[in-house]
Amino acid sequence: MAEVAALDQVEPASPGGPEVAGRSPWALAGRRLVRNRVAMGGLVLFLLIVVVSFAAPIYADHVAHVNPFENNLNGTTIVNGKKVPLLQQGGGILHLGETPIGPTWDIHHYFLGADQNGRDVASRVLYGGRSSLIVGVGSAVLCCFFATVLALLAGFHGGVVDSVFSRSMDVIWAFPVLLLAICVATVLLNAPNGVGVGPIRVQASSLWLPTLIIAFIFLPYVFRPVRGHVLAVSEKEYVEAAIAQGASGWRLVFSEVLPNVITVVIVLLPLIIATTILTEAALSYLSIGVQPPNASWGSVISDGQGLLYTRPWVAIAPGIMIVLTVLALNVFGDGVRDALDPRAKLRIEG
């Protein structure tokens, strides 16, 4: 981008002097990003969480030796060398209720304790990370992709196309975000034979449903800024120059408009991922996000609600994971924004 190049000027060329090491704006931005220690820290943390979460099967099978998706109410484990039942009956005179064991802090035996169904909380938190990340990142990527395509179409064609898309986005935007997600999710989940378009059937327990729903509700958040940028860029001189040179239609879009607009999307992406992860957690907490047998951080927090006063770790652990992940993404996202457009405002409003 012109501004980026201008700000990071390399030594001026001198005639006959050494070769000027020119750098593309992307490389310059990349270098700026890499030099930003805090942002890199965020990226590393995020990747670490991703790796650990996707290593969930390894942990569950080989380290903890549990199946975190099957009930194990009558199971036992070893604590301090002794065999203890996973669920212990209440004491006193009445013996009401069954309480799962709390954290053992033993990585091989129910590190964070068990939940009400005798399942290993630590494994579920890791597997939960898998689902949350898949839904979070997947929906953000889908959202950005489709919103960009729609914005390009709208901004470039203008007229009716623009009106229709913009008004539709207005409607989605006007829906209280969570509300729309809850409505759609409730309805789709209670269409018990899954939802289908033609031959494609999506089961309620599939991760596709929350992914698509969340991608859908955040479309306006990406569409609006991107469209704004498309409109702005379309009026710039270099586009006019390209048109004068005979470029038109999709070639124009791809060669001139898109590269300049893509930075908006790149800056938005980490922030959108952070938001989608939080939204997925909220939906799963309300039991209309990720469905059993899949676990997600939000659903484990929901499981922990009934145990909050006696076994708070079931609710605390997944929450900590969410905070770390979203924090890492926010920090990294800040770094990306600073690298690509150091003078941009904090929020790119639509």
Binding site: A174, F175, P176, N190, G319, I322
Partner: protein, 323 residues
């Protein structure tokens, strides 16, 4: 200016209309959900089912049903809930609104005051340790899911430390109307207010700080400094005012969203029976009339807030007025 306002209002109505149609289609047209069954009660006879269908207009074509519902909401205002046919919905929503409004207002006061202080401090003390520390706190605030924070708050204030001097005053979860007991109203809302405001404090502190820093480099600020004004005066009289434009417009949108029912998660966690809670419950019961009214209520406030912010922006900054 006037035409701009009128056009925004028109577009508001259009958007509301589309939203109601969408909600209607979502819930009415869904397989597996039969409103007749909800109204008919338990184990009704076939004849009763047929009569109810007719009585509630459920055997008419969908567009007619939609119009009937709209009529009942706006004109006759006697729309009843499917889950409880003794319950009129519009008064029910009106009764629930004060809880949501109390929650939203209180949280807004806290978050505005704290975020302005934080943002100012971070900008003023940029370069020292204060800035990054405050910003990290802000980031952490944004990163915490509000329902989780609420759960932890409950754990601490209701259970673990309830008996200490810190939290013994925290009443059991729930909302007490102000007119019934102002003291209890206040005590019961303090923890929810703080919980709800945390994420917003983080966000707005960052927004303000960033706006302030950006404006610092503007020409008119440099002129003010060159004239010999103290940093503090420059900050408070020049940069802060300009920075508030972004802040205020964002605030308008977020506050509108809260009033509209984005308080849902906080209400559910703290047992506050506001509009958000009502919405959530009615969706779980697939009680279409209640869903419809709460969605209309919510969408109205959001669209209104949007329009208001647009108008305020246009008034504040003539450059942005559309042709």
């Amino acid at each position: 200016m006037a035409t701009f306002i009128i056009r925004r209002m028109l577009s508001l109505f259009l958007v509301m209309f589309v939203i109601t149609v969408v909600v209607f289609m979502i819930f009415f047209h869904t397989p597996g959900i039969d409103p007749t069954r909800q109204i008919a009660g338990r184990n009704p006879s076939a004849a009763a089912v047929k009569e109810i269908k007719h009585q509630f207009g459920l055997d008419r074509p969908l567009p007619i049903q939609y119009l009937l519902m709209m009529k009942k909401i706006f004109i006759t205002r006697d729309l009843v809930s499917y889950s409880n046919q003794g319950q009129r919905i519009v008064p029910e929503v009106v009764q629930a609104a004060p809880a949501t409004l109390s929650l939203a207002f209180g949280a807004a006061v806290i978050w505005v005051v704290v975020s302005i202080l934080m943002g100012l401090a971070a900008a003023v003390f940029k370069g020292s340790l204060v800035d990054p520390v405050l910003m990290i706190l802000a980031l952490i605030g944004i990163s915490m899911p509000v329902f989780w924070v609420g759960e932890l708050a409950n754990l601490i204030t209701q259970s673990r430390w309830h008996d200490t001097f810190l939290f013994h005053w925290v009443p059991p979860l729930g909302y007490t109307p102000f007119v019934q007991d102002p003291g209890l109203w206040f005590k019961g809302l303090v923890i929810p207010w703080i919980t709800l405001s945390i994420a917003f404090i983080g966000l707005y502190a960052r927004v303000l700080r960033s706006s302030l820093l950006e404006v610092q480099n503007e020409d008119y600020v440099r002129t003010a400094r060159a004239k010999g004004l103290s940093e503090r005066r420059v900050l408070l009289r020049h940069t802060l005012r300009t920075s508030m434009i972004t802040y205020v417009s964002l605030f308008g949108l977020d506050f509108g969203a809260l009033v509209a029912g984005a308080t849902l998660l906080t209400e559910v966690v703290f047992g506050i029976h506001g509009v958000g809670y009502l919405t959530y419950q009615s969706i779980g019961n697939l009680d279409l009339p209640t869903i419809m009214v709460t969605v209309i209520y919510g969408a109205f406030f959001i669209v209104l807030a949007n329009a208001f912010v647009d108008i305020a922006y246009a008034w504040l900054d003539p450059r942005i007025r559309p042709a």
